[in-house]
């Protein structure tokens, strides 16, 4: 019952593959990835890892990996220096749902988000974006400060 109650009003019922959580923990604890991109595999009825980016990759490399007309989830480890010259790192969860993608994809990702998000324990900020301008690096900097 506890499980049922945590679903939103309408949920896709999609599952989450075990390796999603493991890969996220690698990003969070071991810092081996700069970002992880997840996608929904409809045949397997679960969310899977699509791609990971090495620690040396930049934010632009990450953006280039998001498809223009399909939805994805992603986590990005954002390193920055505060005004007090202090090195900090915050983890962003991004729900990428470009307005030009098919409604079916938007529906699928939106109805699965809450279930998937529960697995990503330790995310600091969340962004839902429907166009590239909402993912500008300034938006991240703004939120993190």
């Amino acid at each position: 019952m506890a499980l049922l109650r945590s679903y939103s009003n309408a949920s896709s019922g999609m599952g989450v593959a075990d390796h999603c959580r493991d890969t996220f923990l690698e990003l969070q604890r071991k810092k081996t990835h700069r970002y992880v991109i997840f996608k929904i595999d409809e045949k397997r009825k679960e969310v899977i890892v699509e791609k990971t980016g090495g620690a040396a990759e930049s934010y632009d490399d990450f953006l280039a990996c998001l498809p223009e007309n399909d939805c994805r989830y992603a986590v990005y480890d954002f390193d920055f220096v505060t005004q007090e010259n202090c090195q900090k790192s915050k983890i962003f969860f991004i729900a990428w749902s470009p307005s030009v993608s098919r409604i079916r994809a938007k529906m699928l990702y939106a109805t699965t988000k809450q279930r998937f998000r529960r697995e990503m324990d330790g995310v600091h900020y969340e962004i839902q974006a429907t166009e590239p301008s909402e993912l500008d690096i300034e938006v991240l900097r703004d939120r993190a400060n």
């Binding site: 019952m1 049922l4 109650r5 679903y7 939103s8 009003n9 309408a10 949920s11 896709s12 019922g13 999609m14 599952g15 409809e42 009825k45 939805c71 729900a95 749902s97 470009p98 307005s99 993608s101 409604i103 079916r104 994809a105 938007k106 529906m107 699928l108 990702y109 939106a110 109805t111 988000k113 809450q114 998000r117 839902q128 429907t130 909402e134």
Partner: protein, 444 residues
Amino acid sequence: MYGGDEVSAIVIDLGSHTCKAGYAGEDAPKAVFPSVVGSIEQQEVVNGTKFEKESESMSDLKGGLKGLDSEKAKTKRKLYVGSQALGFRRDHMEVISPFQDGVVADWDIVDNIWAHAFKDRLLIDPMEHPMLLAEPTSNAPQQRERMAEILFENYKVPALFVAKNAVLTSFASGRATSLVVDSGGGSTTVAPVQDGYVLQKGVATSPIGGEFLTECMMKSLESKGIIFKPRYSFKRKEARPGDFQTIDLDFPNTTERYKLYSQRLIASDIKECVCRAPDTPYDESAYANIPMTPYELPDGQIIEIGADRFKIPDILFNPSLVQTIPGMENFIDSSPVRGLPQMVIESINKCDVDIRRELFSSILLSGGTASMQQLKERLEKDLMEESPQAARVKVLASGNATERRFSVWIGGSILASLGSFQQMWFSKGEYEEHGASYIQRKCP
């Protein structure tokens, strides 16, 4: 768990103005018909001649209504559902709605509307198809239990799911968090949605919807001397090629409500054809000299519509304008009504500070009235002027008119067709084991 992969589900969105029904997985509802029905009170002692007349007019009807007739035999009124049955004028036929103040008050009518959708329009056996129903955002728990009861008991549906209008719209646009502005026929509802839940404390509603605007349009044109002749009240004959003659017909037994219903159909079409939200608040003097747009009424009369094209839609933004429309002056006195931008801002301000920013930047339009030309641009402009500086206002609407008008239905259609969704249904077995209240758990 209900394993219903192989048969397609049926999706129904019963709005205050129109009922949308169709098969899950399709991109538009197959059946779209009025949510109001015609009703004739049946007298206990049937007068011989009158009875004959009635049965005569019944046989005129296409066979479609037969299924309903047998079911309705037990009650004392006869209901006529669907555009066709309602479009046919009958003596003493009233036009009634199942809704009162946005919630279902008469379940018998809803029952008949469903029956019409299943049997006459979609031609399906409800026992074989799971049903996904969209419900008004502020529906009470008792309402959904009642809905479940009727569908499981009377229709023996194998499985059911109920999703809120605002949630379906939000998801269909790819957002789990958004502010949904749903302007439909009977009312306008502004609802904040966070992670797929409606934040009830922030829900704002106003009675100004499409029907109200239609009423204003009609009153305003009537005050200028235009007479709306309902379609049933005349015949047009082509005397010579290209030359039409209108012959008035007299039906003294037509009810006032039916006449009004028929006139509103015309006014509503005028509204949909010519209206456009003005870019700035409506100003009587600035619009005094705008060019007139011609419109041909069903009886051949050509009328010209000027400032009303802009004035009527502006009522959504500035309800006090109704006071300048003859016959509508008393509307505001009864209850204070806010304009659309104020409703949006009030609704957002009732939500947690943390999500306000997000809500301002994901305002979604849905419903027939929100599909009005230039409405999106105007709302965005007004909100930018009135919202806090830091907020980044963004009003989103699908560019496709069908998608905008049916966003709720489309959301339901996709949800119900997802392979992974099949485990989410509230099944007949679960209903029998746990009762109707279990729906609150299955469809929170």
